[in-house]
């Protein structure tokens, strides 16, 4: 993690902001991944054309 942080461009404050932004992106991606995966596991049992 430290090495990845060191690879980020710019001075320390910019790197911190970029790192936070990247973390937020990863969390959002994880959220959608989990929702999508959750639907494969159990979609709620609804019956319909879009299921």
């Amino acid at each position: 993690m430290r090495r990845l942080f060191a690879l980020l461009p710019g001075p320390l404050p910019v790197r911190v902001i970029v790192a936070l932004f990247a973390l937020a992106l990863v969390l959002v991606a994880l959220f959608f991944l989990f929702e999508w995966g959750g639907d494969l596991l159990d979609s709620g049992g609804v019956v319909g054309p879009g299921q």
């Binding site: 994880l30 991944l33 989990f34 995966g37 959750g38 639907d39 494969l40 596991l41 159990d42 979609s43 709620g44 049992g45 609804v46 019956v47 319909g48 054309p49 299921q51």
Partner: protein
Amino acid sequence: MTRTLKITGWTMIGLGVLILVFLGYQLIGTNFLTARSQDLAQETVGEHFVAAQEGIEAVDTLPPPPVEFGTPESPPPEDETPVVHYREPIPEDGVAFGVMLIPKIEAEHVLFEGVDRATLKKGPGHMPWTPLPGQPGNAVVSGHRTTYGAPFFDLDQLVPGDEISVETALGVHTYVVRSSLIVAPTAVEVTDAKRGGWLTLTTCNPKFSARERLIVSAELVDGPNFAYALAEKHFMPAEAS
């Protein structure tokens, strides 16, 4: 070569951890979210019952059905008093409007209006385009099988004759399971209107997969609209229901 192996190793470990976190969240973490929603709903559903009392109305009457048309569980009235169709107000989307009890699988869940993703995370949801439980026709309720409280985890254990009761603002409606079947997720015909009073429960099948749907169909055998549903089944032409 060593570096490539190291990167591959760490990637595999990372993916493994991600899958474990995913399964932990889906199979354990979501249960806490739903338990909290159900606890809160236990309070609000009582408020809904009180608020909905004012909106309950008698909307139709029919002559009583012949005695032989009744079921052994609850025969229809033997006098000639017309049977009444009572209707309760349609709840708003996402609102807790009833409590379902399935003694065989020790399941008790607050029901919510709607089957969108957010609503089903709180508990079983009623398909808004079908009649409410307790009303004549085919009321459809969907619920998660293995995540978000897994309200229908043991639904496959229900067999014909098992009892399901639903309490709404109108009263307690008792159903008896008539059949269960497995269909494709697109089999919308299970939600079609039916004559009489019916409750259709739908959930994912098999467990831990959304590949199919398990459908449990139960018939109304007691409750405020039982006699009316029975009379409707007897007197109304099939295409009218």
